[in-house]
Symmetry: D2
Subunit: 331 residues, 4 copies
Amino acid sequence: MRFFSDNAAPVHPAVLKAMAAADAVDTAYDGDALSRGLAARFSALFGQEVAALWVPTGTAANALALAALCPPYGGTICHRDAHVQNDECGAPEFFTHGAKLLLADGEGAKLTPDSVAAVADAIADDVHRVQPHALSITNATEYGCVYTPDEVAALAALAKARGWGLHMDGARFANAVVHLGCTAAELTRGVDVLSFGFVKNGGMSAEALVFFDPKLADATRRRRKRAGHLLSKGRYLAAQIHAMLDDDVWLDTARAANAAAQALAGAAGARLIHPVQANELFLRMTPEEAATLRADGFDFYDWAAGEVRLVTHWASPADEVAALARAIAAL
Amino acid sequence: MRFFSDNAAPVHPAVLKAMAAADAVDTAYDGDALSRGLAARFSALFGQEVAALWVPTGTAANALALAALCPPYGGTICHRDAHVQNDECGAPEFFTHGAKLLLADGEGAKLTPDSVAAVADAIADDVHRVQPHALSITNATEYGCVYTPDEVAALAALAKARGWGLHMDGARFANAVVHLGCTAAELTRGVDVLSFGFVKNGGMSAEALVFFDPKLADATRRRRKRAGHLLSKGRYLAAQIHAMLDDDVWLDTARAANAAAQALAGAAGARLIHPVQANELFLRMTPEEAATLRADGFDFYDWAAGEVRLVTHWASPADEVAALARAIAAL
Amino acid sequence: MRFFSDNAAPVHPAVLKAMAAADAVDTAYDGDALSRGLAARFSALFGQEVAALWVPTGTAANALALAALCPPYGGTICHRDAHVQNDECGAPEFFTHGAKLLLADGEGAKLTPDSVAAVADAIADDVHRVQPHALSITNATEYGCVYTPDEVAALAALAKARGWGLHMDGARFANAVVHLGCTAAELTRGVDVLSFGFVKNGGMSAEALVFFDPKLADATRRRRKRAGHLLSKGRYLAAQIHAMLDDDVWLDTARAANAAAQALAGAAGARLIHPVQANELFLRMTPEEAATLRADGFDFYDWAAGEVRLVTHWASPADEVAALARAIAAL
Amino acid sequence: MRFFSDNAAPVHPAVLKAMAAADAVDTAYDGDALSRGLAARFSALFGQEVAALWVPTGTAANALALAALCPPYGGTICHRDAHVQNDECGAPEFFTHGAKLLLADGEGAKLTPDSVAAVADAIADDVHRVQPHALSITNATEYGCVYTPDEVAALAALAKARGWGLHMDGARFANAVVHLGCTAAELTRGVDVLSFGFVKNGGMSAEALVFFDPKLADATRRRRKRAGHLLSKGRYLAAQIHAMLDDDVWLDTARAANAAAQALAGAAGARLIHPVQANELFLRMTPEEAATLRADGFDFYDWAAGEVRLVTHWASPADEVAALARAIAAL
């Protein structure tokens, strides 16, 4: 019974079906009809003209986004627990050619205008210090917390006032949207580039990079090829994204994952370190307690000393979720 | 009727079937059984212990291979018409952090020890000149020509004598193997890293990087992650490769592609610019002749002035191949 | 009366004289007798065979050193207030092609085995996290504190046990040596690469990179050229270094700078934030007090809120030092 | 008697004198009066507002210039015998983060609009090919040939029409100017960035980067620091440049070097491979003839089989030049 990652989930049947349907021969790379259709698809979703590119991983999406916003001699402010800082083996530094990540604080891995300004204001404006050029936030965050539209807008206002680009790592964007009950557009006001995640939410190997200023995508098309991320049979990636957007599959799968997390949250009670707003739970738990759960067949991740992480996903079996909730309550 | 790229071909049914079968939940990234099984699979194929990693594109495979063999301040000798030089938007330079490609000549995009030595010997051994650290060959070449095992061995001997690593871009390795009727092992004697292509040969989105010195793979595992090429659901890539190797599907598909090319070659006769040894044909053809073929519904690529490229693939319809052969003969 | 930087000091007359003497034509780049003589010179100083290269700046020295010790996908542990982290506009990231600086804590910008191990031990050993490959310390530190030979040796032991390279930023190495009364060799036991500073200590434009494993210098010679740091008239740089080493000028100038700092330290008393062990002083001081000193003609640097930095140098005029000491005491 | 490089020449006395005069303490880095005065100085020289930065080497100047004009995923067209391609150990690739040099042909290492357009027109405008973003020419060229103002203007017109930046490597700009008898401004119409060389012409360690669009310099100031090229005692570099510009020293020294070359050219006659328009001569010469000259005490560089290079400089002794001329004539 696996609760260690939404990356280990199966692929949604609609995605597999769409991939099989994409097998009809079409042009290579991203010249096919499915790939070319992404811009219109996301423009409709966001209610404005956007450019949209598929990439096979969230790490590629994030790193390409930062490279679009930050020059090699600049810096991007992010939370010190951000995925781009800790879990991508230096991908941002690789794609940006050595731009620095400038680390800010905040509860639940959420940045605030104050915590961001504190980092920026401590940097003297001279050539010795790396200057911020971008701000990167994750929604939902690495701790499963959600920025509201107003919180995003406040950070966007700060970024705009300082002349920075704003990137949103939306590996779990769907979980945030369904938690809030808002629209995708409402949650991205002022964002320049969104890494729109599908793989953790039922997809197989396709994430979308959404550029709210379509011109920003031009250089990224070249960086994508240069990074080896322009798949020659790109239609199989585009098909995944279309399938997830069709009939709001992406929202349904996120709702399922969030609901499973809520079921566990109810059982976890005072053990919760962060509010549960998406599909991740962080619990205080002694090693002995964790061992007890594992002896019962539950698999999950040790986070820090005395802390564990549980992750649900779109296909978490209801009986396994219920069993884990009971087991936690019984600790 | 499309003869412009083997990238535009459909995916082999065995591959699609294996991907669907991989949907059972397993560990993320490359910790799953299928991914972990690749080393044994390729070790058996090559008759020696190798390390093997999946990557989603041939460009990623090539660029990671060069980064494993050449430091940022070094150079890699390749043919001036090599894919790494002309068709990857600078991916080798990106992954190697600016190492240079040093361009050599040779008929049919095939290098010879003499043409390689000529490039190397013209480089003074001082800190002002970029020194060669690696040699990269493509088999079958960009012009559909095939290095024999002896030719590869001669280049490997030169590389070893000079202290260079040897990379083989095997985007069409299968086509070379079936053309020669040799084994994969015989065709890679002395090679350090092989980009073993599957996508042009019936796969969807998985190529293999084979390291004949397994230790060379360690840094590449980190570079792969850092480049955003460690897919979180890697089992779907590993499954493709296993499916292609099962029952020698990879050899059957290459044989079909080569046979289709031979059928066209017979019709092309004196128009052929290079011998046809794989699944690509380069023909002398006037613009008017090319227009005639296109008017008949054949789609292909203009190569250079007065030259066209035709590419067959594992699933090229027999009737379309026959029709094109007739049309060429009738020009 | 300038106390804001030892970078703003004049050049020692012996250096100017040696540069004029180097005007006799000799071979270009670093093939001249003076440049070729550096290895022997530093080997004698350190009592072991070393390789030594001149470079024009400390930033270049540090960044080349880190590039010699840390691959692009790795990390270097340093203090969060280190010059390499804060004052080089990302030079380490540029020269290492995006390796990360991993930030550790410690009083007076001094790392300890515990503070370093705490950073390293928190990094899971997988491909998602950037792994440490090197440790960089500054002696004397950015706060004018000095590591003793034993402290250096303890960090070197840790680095060796973990398989990391050890870099010492010795922009103020001379100040540390004279403070301790030890030898240069005693203070570099276990160090792999030393940035041996001369510019802050009376030189004009020459720092030395000392490789205690001479083989490590080979790639650096190429990186130096590739970074534009191989001056064509290198003899004028080598001459500076020889002049500083002749008759222990480098020790005399450091002694003078340290003595001036001590004179100020006596006056500063309880204002001192860090012990004064080199030529820098950090004082608690209100903006009003700072304004008073500036009104008296003293120029210095505001460090943080309520803190100022004073820097002495080899040629700080005795009367100005005395005047500043009196002024501080009178606040 | 050395004729192998103008890099091995002594430093002009006016330069040494100016450096000694710069010893008075001023602010560090490039905040001093001499450094700040460069923009006005070069603006006066070129008759338009320019930005001007010192750097210690021509390699740094060229590589920073290319980084200002060409993104990492782009290319710069240059002659295949250009210094940036052959003699900088990949500095352009390092500073541009892997942009490619695209090699064009031309007699005497001079590009023409036709030879440049031929390279560019062969590059398909898609994401697979690296697209040109800049053009780099060398004046005087690596073979001592000089572009006229009209020739520069024609290339500038091409660059502008294609949307490329134009860089001029002026390591021997002074030699070109005095050969033509034109002004510096006339020879740089349409140039975006000039590497204005002083070191080969009597300087010690200071070249100027001149940006004809001052805004282009902003990012370069950061790249310069990040590359370790912002010397902390920059006034000693600025002083060299001022001294060379004072009283047209730079023109006098170039005239002397060119005149020495003409004296040799007269003796070389039919041996000359290229017209002698600056201070370099390329002569056909058998190994036996070269050995004869060397036995007479002349030192020079073997260029290619049967070819030697002779270089004069501002201080080439008249008697040595005359002796070499006689010796060549006597071969």
